[in-house]
């Protein structure tokens, strides 16, 4: 996992816990990764705390309400002419997001191989899948607001807190996906027009953008488990 690693100057760094001590007591830098990547990780850690606050407040209101909680399995069911299939739209959205995570992982790999064309198209595919996800979410919101009468202050199917939790959590996640789509397209077009070639052909930025995208998928794993399945 963390064996000895080479420093830029050719020295050898110790691994394991001794490595932690030596890294944090280093004169110059603790994390032997590009600074952009370290900053992205720290941003994602802070974002973890934001989403945790949302999910924990959802847990608290769901535990404390005396009214029955609406059954997500029924609320998010969708019928294609026949009997409604439980949670089907959410399942499709989950698969769309996982597919996009896969294409992103491949884009990062192709970036390090300096295959600009493949990196570009894989990132565009990732962004397209992300946009599909947001589109399906817009459909889901519309259905909930217009057909089912869900409002942040109440709904006919159960506890009033259902609406506020739902709009807050999925809205914030959808906003992250939308921002990610723009970010990915931005980086993808810079990969294509050779922007990073002029800067020494360094494609770490693709991995940094990838970290953000995988995080968005990661948050969805938790939302899917706690909001839709629980």
């Amino acid at each position: 996992m963390s064996e000895a690693a080479m420093t830029n100057t050719g020295g050898v760094l110790p691994g394991g816990l001794g490595g932690v001590t030596s890294d944090f007591s280093a004169d110059k830098q603790s994390f032997h990764v590009p600074w952009g990547k370290a900053m992205m990780w720290i941003f994602l850690l802070s974002d973890t705390f934001i989403f945790s606050c949302f999910l924990i407040s959802y847990m608290t209101v769901r535990m404390s309400t005396a009214d029955p909680w609406p059954l997500p399995s029924e609320v998010f069911a969708l019928s294609f002419g026949g009997d409604p299939i439980p949670l089907i739209l959410i399942a499709i959205m989950t698969f769309v997001l996982i597919t996009s995570s896969g294409t992103m992982a491949l884009a990062v790999n192709m970036g390090y191989r300096k295959d600009r064309n493949k990196t570009f198209w894989l990132m565009v595919a990732t962004a397209a899948l992300g946009a599909t996800f947001v589109g399906m979410q817009a459909f889901e919101w519309t259905k909930l607001i217009v057909d089912e009468g869900v409002r942040p202050w109440g709904n006919p199917m159960g506890a009033a807190q259902f609406g506020s939790s739902f709009f807050m959590i999925t809205g914030f996640h959808g906003m992250h996906v939308s921002a990610g789509v723009i970010y990915l397209l931005w980086v993808a077009f810079r990969v294509k027009n050779g922007f990073y070639e002029k800067r020494g052909g360094n494609y770490e930025i693709v991995e940094i953008a990838g970290l953000y995208w995988h995080f968005v998928d990661l948050v969805w794993v938790f939302i899917f488990a706690f909001f839709y399945l629980w």
Partner: protein, 115 residues
């Protein structure tokens, strides 16, 4: 494994993990589709969730190959979230019991969603 060289790994591992994520997502959907209830449902949801999250962080986000200093700096602070969950579930229980005590049982009549 020098991180300054960037994270380069064989493509095979990504396809493997990609497939596994699909499979586990399908399993978690089946938990709902087959209408499991109670402890069985909750433990299956949590197991599938943590396995999926673990694969995404370890492989897709390359955490497995990072140095331990970065791993600990990112993965240890979320322990506080567990503490927060504990505190807030006590609070949630207390509020629920207080509501039952003072307002009585809910008289809410839920309607079925129309499709």
């Amino acid at each position: 494994m020098a991180s300054s060289e960037g994270q380069q790994h064989p493509l095979g591992i990504y396809f493997w993990i990609w497939g596994l994520l699909f499979l586990i997502s399908f399993f978690s959907y089946m938990v709902d589709y087959l209408q499991f209830h109670g402890m069985l449902r909750w433990s299956l949801i949590l197991i599938f969730m943590f396995v999926k999250a673990g694969f995404i962080i370890a492989i897709f986000m390359h955490m497995k190959w990072e140095r331990m200093a970065l791993q600990l700096a990112i993965l240890l602070p979320p322990i506080f979230i567990a503490v927060f969950i504990g505190i807030m579930s006590l609070e949630g229980d207390y509020t629920f019991l207080t509501r039952i005590e003072f307002f009585g049982e809910s008289s809410f009549v839920p309607q079925s969603p129309h499709h």
